[in-house]
């Protein structure tokens, strides 16, 4: 038979690919470069996720604003009105931390199923597996950014201007992004082999919520050694930074931020390490 013409350039590109698969898995550098090579797919998954989410509900994007606004309303009524919290501009106080909290909470919940929900795809098309949890991270990050007008709206309502610490806000976003990436990689791989996580996570997140300075300032914990333990939760430093943008005098010390930064990076390392160590097992489970 006469060979049919093949796009020569494409053929040559593919014939340069080389891969070796062993039980030891891939070195970290190779993982990163492969992930970088398929960033178009990551972008595609993110927009697919958003498209599906916004297209399948009537209110679409409005939900990204309504949901945090409702949470602010509920906590304001319960803790501001019924329990008479004395915190000034309490709705704004809640808003500055509850949006970052909802971001963390939502990503964690959705990352649980990042691998399991895509089982058939993962075992039929070869892509860097990190793409699946990372696309949840990306999707939720975009949603978070789109929900930020809620904070601005509440601030405008109470006529509160941002403080000179406004720059702390992007820093908080960056730290939380690092933390969330680590958590997503960790939880997506762990949940594939240890399904108990799915059951326990709800209670865990609820506990964590009350262990974060969302409804109260971190300064409420006045015992200094207790405070240091409290600040080991990386979300504490992050939420303090978020809040500093509008409540400068509540921002106490940098210690919590340093601790948080270390915690976030550590979580990323642990998350990725867990993910790569469990990869072989996870693939068999899907």
């Amino acid at each position: 038979m006469e060979p049919l013409p093949t796009p020569a350039s494409a053929y040559r590109r593919h014939s340069l690919d080389y891969s070796l698969r062993t039980s030891a898995g891939m070195p970290f550098g190779l993982r990163v470069s492969q992930l970088w090579g398929r960033r178009d797919v990551l972008r595609m998954f993110v927009s697919r996720g958003l498209k599906v989410k916004y297209a399948s509900s009537v209110l679409g994007y409005a939900w990204s604003l309504i949901e945090p606004a409702l949470f602010i309303g509920v906590y304001f009524v319960v803790f501001g009105r019924i329990f008479h919290t004395k915190i000034h501009h309490y709705p704004l106080f809640i808003a500055t931390a509850i949006l970052p909290w909802l971001w963390f909470n939502g990503t964690t919940q959705q990352a649980l199923g990042a691998l399991r929900a895509n089982g058939r795809l993962i075992t039929s098309i070869s892509l860097p597996r990190e793409i699946y949890p990372l696309s949840v991270v990306g999707e939720k990050f975009v949603e978070y950014l789109l929900s930020l007008p809620v904070i601005a709206a509440v601030a405008a309502l109470y006529r509160v201007a941002p403080t000179r610490y406004l720059w702390a806000f992007p820093l908080a976003v960056l730290l939380e992004l690092v933390l969330i990436t680590g958590v997503a990689l960790f939880i997506a791989s762990m949940n594939t082999i240890l399904r108990d996580i799915q059951r326990g996570i709800g209670v865990f997140l609820r506990m964590l919520f009350y262990l974060c300075p969302v409804l109260y300032p971190a300064s409420k914990i006045s015992n200094i050694s207790l405070r240091h333990i409290y600040e080991l939760n990386p979300l504490v430093g992050i939420f303090e930074l978020d809040r500093a943008a509008f409540f400068a005098k509540d921002f106490g010390e940098w210690r919590a931020v340093y601790v948080s930064a270390i915690g976030c990076v550590l979580m990323l390392v642990i998350g990725w390490l867990t993910f790569s160590r469990l990869e072989r097992t996870v693939l068999k489970e899907l």
């Binding site: 053929y11 690919d17 070796l20 039929s124 892509l127 082999i193 469990l278």
Partner: protein, 247 residues
């Protein structure tokens, strides 16, 4: 020409029951342990062979003999517990083709999505979009969410995307078993075109005729090991003879 695929003493084990506690130890131990844990079995063990560039090889065996597992290891969607798989050249895997479809999205969106998963750029997909939609016979439904597609339509659309694959190594797992007679003939034409282009082929099939027609060499897998590796006619005959005695 050199080898396109080299499989060295490969082994992979799976758990028989659903108890997973043992797996957590993988967190602390690098690599795999080469012994069987409790409730595990080797789905493939000590499998070695190589496929030369441009060779067409068929893998045959009963259900559960490890054929699909082998293909997935070569495709890189499973990782071995022992041994290694080396691949020289890009691999196009035709495994469970409709796995990537998102029911809520239109056929158009899905084509772009799945093409991207297979490594096509947006421009490439633009270039072949009309052609593959026509090939799959779904021109009228490009803006319909694929959840309203019949399974046959989905299978046709999925296969039409992979007909555009340019990878020099192709792995094909039973995907030809879908669709009606006319569609299967069209699929066969595509496979024959790809074979004529001199690509490396590894085909898993239960269809002896397909194997005899397209492959020169056959590998007979039984309970996770290679029983015979040789000319396809001999291998298929041996497999059929085995099947006879079992009946």
């Amino acid at each position: 020409m050199g080898d396109a695929i080299t499989v060295n003493d490969i082994g992979i084990k799976f758990a028989i029951n659903r108890r997973r506690r043992m797996e957590l130890k993988n967190l602390f131990i690098r690599g795999a342990k080469e012994t069987l844990g409790e409730g595990e079995f080797w789905a493939l063990r000590d499998v070695s062979f190589s496929v030369g560039a441009g060779e067409a090889v068929g893998v045959i065996g009963r259900n559960g003999s490890g054929k699909s597992t082998l293909l997935r290891l070569i495709a890189g969607v499973l990782l071995p517990d022992e041994g290694s798989v080396e691949v020289h050249g890009g691999v196009g895997a035709m495994i469970e083709l409709s796995a990537g479809f998102v029911g809520d999205l239109t056929a158009r969106d899905n084509v772009y999505l799945i093409s991207a998963l297979h490594g096509f750029s947006r421009e490439q997909t633009d270039a072949f979009f009309d052609e593959i939609v026509a090939w799959a016979g779904v021109e009228r439904f490009v803006d319909t969410p694929v959840q309203h597609f019949s399974s046959g339509m989905k299978a046709r659309l999925a296969f039409s995307i992979v007909t555009q694959m340019e990878e020099p190594i192709l792995l094909v797992d039973e995907v030809l078993a879908v669709g009606d007679t006319a569609f299967r003939r069209k699929c066969a034409d595509v496979i024959e075109r790809m074979l004529a282009e001199g690509r490396t082929f590894l085909l898993v099939s239960h269809n002896e005729n397909d194997l005899r027609r397209w492959c020169k060499r056959g590998i007979y897998l039984k309970n996770g090991s290679v029983v015979t590796d040789g000319p396809v006619d001999d291998v298929v005959d041996e497999y059929l003879a085995d099947a006879q005695t079992l009946n």
